[in-house]
């Protein structure tokens, strides 16, 4: 009886072992983000300017902006000078802050449940479903890099649409059209200023 029982348990053991190995706690990281951080951004009693600066802090702390910058620029990153890279990083942060800050109201009351996790070497996909009151559920998948227990988001996949790829294609189109990275920087600068 005993060996048989052990065999029955083997798959479970394997499943349990493969769980936390690579991206230990990536799911609880996302859960924390949804339960503790999100309400701080959507709380209507806090002034918008305060919420914006909070969001910027979240971007810097919980997102890997360095890597996102690299990914969305793709091959243009490789060719850019260190000064240009630094400028792009700063502009990207400003641009993303502005882009998502406008949507805070829509995020109020958003409920995020973790459907599951898949771990890969050094990173995980955390699969969640986001539901708003009266709205249809939206599939929201987080790509999380994990290192020494530290987690940072590198991509957000919304209903199959990767934000990094979307941003990369848009930026790349601008670089091609304007004939260089400077065109993109200019466009970002004027958008942020406007």
């Amino acid at each position: 009886m005993r060996p048989l029982r052990l065999i029955l348990f083997l798959p479970f053991l394997f499943f349990a072992a493969s769980g936390p190995a690579a991206g230990e706690g990536a799911d609880s990281f996302i859960r924390d983000l949804a339960e503790k951080v999100l309400p701080q951004l959507t709380d209507p009693s806090t002034p918008l300017s305060e919420r914006k600066s909070r969001f910027r802090a979240v971007l810097n702390r919980d997102f890997n902006l360095e890597k996102i910058g690299k990914l969305v620029l793709g091959r243009h990153w490789r060719r850019a000078s260190p000064a240009k890279r630094a400028e792009f990083k700063k502009l990207l942060e400003d641009y993303l802050s502005g882009l998502y800050a406008r949507r805070f109201e829509d995020l109020a009351g958003l409920e995020i449940t973790v459907d599951g996790v898949r771990n890969f070497e050094g990173w995980s996909m955390v699969y969640t479903t986001a539901t708003r009151i009266g709205g249809a559920p939206v599939l929201l998948d987080w790509r999380v890099d994990s290192k020494d227990g530290d987690h940072a988001i590198t991509d957000l996949v919304i209903e199959g649409v990767s934000m990094v790829i979307a941003q990369r294609e848009e930026f790349s189109a601008i670089v091609v059209e304007s004939g260089g990275l400077d065109g993109l920087l200019l466009k970002l600068r004027s958008r942020i200023a406007g």
Binding site: I158, G160, V161
Partner: protein, 299 residues
Amino acid sequence: MRAGFEHAPDPIRCLVADERPAPVRHLRALAGALFLACLLSIAAPLPSSAGEEPQQPSFNDPLETLNRLVFAVNEALDTVFLRPAAVVYGAVVPGPVRRGVRNVVRHLSLPFTFVNDVAQGEWKRSGDTAQRFFINTMVGFAGLYDVAEKQGLPHRSTDFGGTLAAWGLGEGPYLVLPIAGPSNFRDAAGLLVQGVGDPVDIAFRRADLDHMPLIRAGAATLDFRHSNLDTLDDFKAGSLDYYAFIRTLYRQRRAFEVGGDAEMYLAGEKETSDDDYAYPPPRPDFSRDGQPAGTRPAQ
């Protein structure tokens, strides 16, 4: 999702708006068919010109110049006609009536969805579609009320472009259709088939209700445009290159819906990106209780 102009935003609609893709658009299918016929005759030599610029990243858009032109015309038409119409529709027509319009529009798309489910070999889904159609026809007053959704049979749509994908046909170059909006060669062909093969429209015509397909298409378009007012306004205001943004949304969303294309889509990306970033693997199918039901391929 499928069909018309609505295409454009569809990817995003699911991000923000509460609605999932609407059905078939006859009118647009027809326009698409006409356009495709014209296009095919002139398109042939164009793709090779993409090779002129060796650093051109792979947007799968050899017809970009033409596409951008059509896109701009569509945008102008939207600004002048469709968007204002959708605003008025939202202001004048009460919510419950709009809800009913949406339900009927979706209901009428189910027969063609069923045909495609079967053609794709999706037996479980075709059963769900048939059941949904039956329940809402009988209990939901010919589709006016969505009773099936409460019974765990939510609206789902597929189209002939999805069927062609299931049969192994690649997306082909990206294509912006006049009025119908973002598409590709495969999905445009799908629209064409839909234009002549939609069972409900065929039934309408047989019953000498020739105006019904048009009314149906109009209602579907209004419903779609109205439910995406804020989303599209937002994306238009937020994006730096609206055309490029919609293009990537359409392509990613379609790859996600019909499956199979993601890898092809990214094969070209790998050359241009110096990082190890790859498109995330297909999402595992999680059942309602949160247990992974195994990792099925995207399709």
